[in-house]
Symmetry: C2
Subunit: 220 residues, 2 copies
């Protein structure tokens, strides 16, 4: 593990940046907020970060107690956020709100996987949810599955297949960004940019309520 370049200031902002301020570090945490991931999941999601850098960052994050390294299914290794690591969610969401204010540059490219939506859409739902919402949704974003569980006034979005989703919503990442950044509204999104299958009739209304409230979080 490299890293000697630290601010070493008493200021709490500098102390935070000494942990998560390095290049790539916040994007690694971003992807891990979608749930445990393997080395190569992360490498793809970060559009080809150099392997040695990913190794360095994972080691440093582990040493600082923000992530943990566990044994996965078939002899694989899984990286997960610790409780301390999960506390970065608010920072990442604020960054997403801020970054959404800038129009994308010319040469930007979509990330190698869609795990970023778990932080942006998931956190927005978490902040917008009310106690009367109870719905389990299977999202499919650019072909990748995510499951949103919203109940008891709490919402969590993770990568993976739902077991018994009330609603299945399929859309592109670009369309999702358009609606979150206010370029199209929720009705347009649902009508023209998403494929929605309803397994539990009525639940699609709850989802639309939740998503509308979530979208409103972005513009306040």
């Amino acid at each position: 593990m490299a890293k000697v370049r630290s601010y070493k200031l008493l200021c709490p902002i500098a102390r935070a940046l000494d942990r998560i301020g390095d290049r790539w570090t916040l994007l690694i945490l971003r992807d891990l907020h979608a749930g445990p991931a393997r080395f190569s999941d992360l490498q793809h999601g970060l559009t080809g970060i150099a392997a040695n850098l990913l190794t360095d960052r994972l080691n440093k994050l582990t040493a600082d107690g923000l992530i943990s390294k566990d044994a996965g299914a078939h002899g694989t290794t899984l990286y997960s956020l610790t409780e301390m690591g999960r506390k970065t969610r608010g920072i990442l969401f604020d960054l997403a709100l801020f970054g959404g204010l800038f129009s994308p540059e010319a040469e930007v490219v979509e990330p190698g996987n869609m795990r970023t939506v778990a932080v942006t859409l998931g956190t927005a739902c978490q902040r917008a949810i009310t106690a009367d919402i109870n719905v389990e949704v299977q999202f499919v974003i650019n072909g990748e599955p995510f499951v949103l569980v919203a109940r008891d006034g709490r919402a969590l979005m993770q990568a993976g297949q739902a077991t018994a989703p009330d609603v299945v919503l399929e859309a592109s990442y670009a369309a999702l960004l358009s609606v979150s950044e206010g370029e199209i509204n929720m009705a347009q999104f649902a009508r023209d940019h998403a494929r929605i299958a309803v397994n539990t009739p009525g639940k699609e209304v709850e989802l639309m309520h939740l998503m509308s409230a979530a979208i409103a979080v972005f513009s306040r």
Copy 2:
């Protein structure tokens, strides 16, 4: 201006980091949240960042529309946040909350100036203030003056001298950090770690209420 190592990803978090993710950039913004500053103010507050790096960062922040460069008093140059730049306050405050969770390492040093308190304490007051608070406070932190104006349900803390402060509170930066990170409580702080002069009797009570509420923001 040096060329930038940019992620060029569509993800809004990456777009934010392309603007403010470089080393030193967030600390420069931190200091500017205390009000306009000269080149050398910033250089001192950042404990001796290399001058060429500070130049690079200021140029990039200007090009991205986060700060502006204006003529100051005696032929000096002043850097200030633009409206877009001020939107980073929430990010910086979240970083401060997160960084406060880690105990300082052995060799940490106090920053070269105290402008960091304008983000941490000022934002906490902003989030905690209620409509019944109306007080102007002269803070003196490690000998540096800051003025907090709290009225109409809003609070703003800036570097500089107050014109007619209701209360003057003098304390060390270390003591302020101790209370914000929960090591001592507000009563202990006021009694043992601060020198308080009251110009408008009764206003010190309002200040204590505001600060207690602000401190509570740190631990939720």
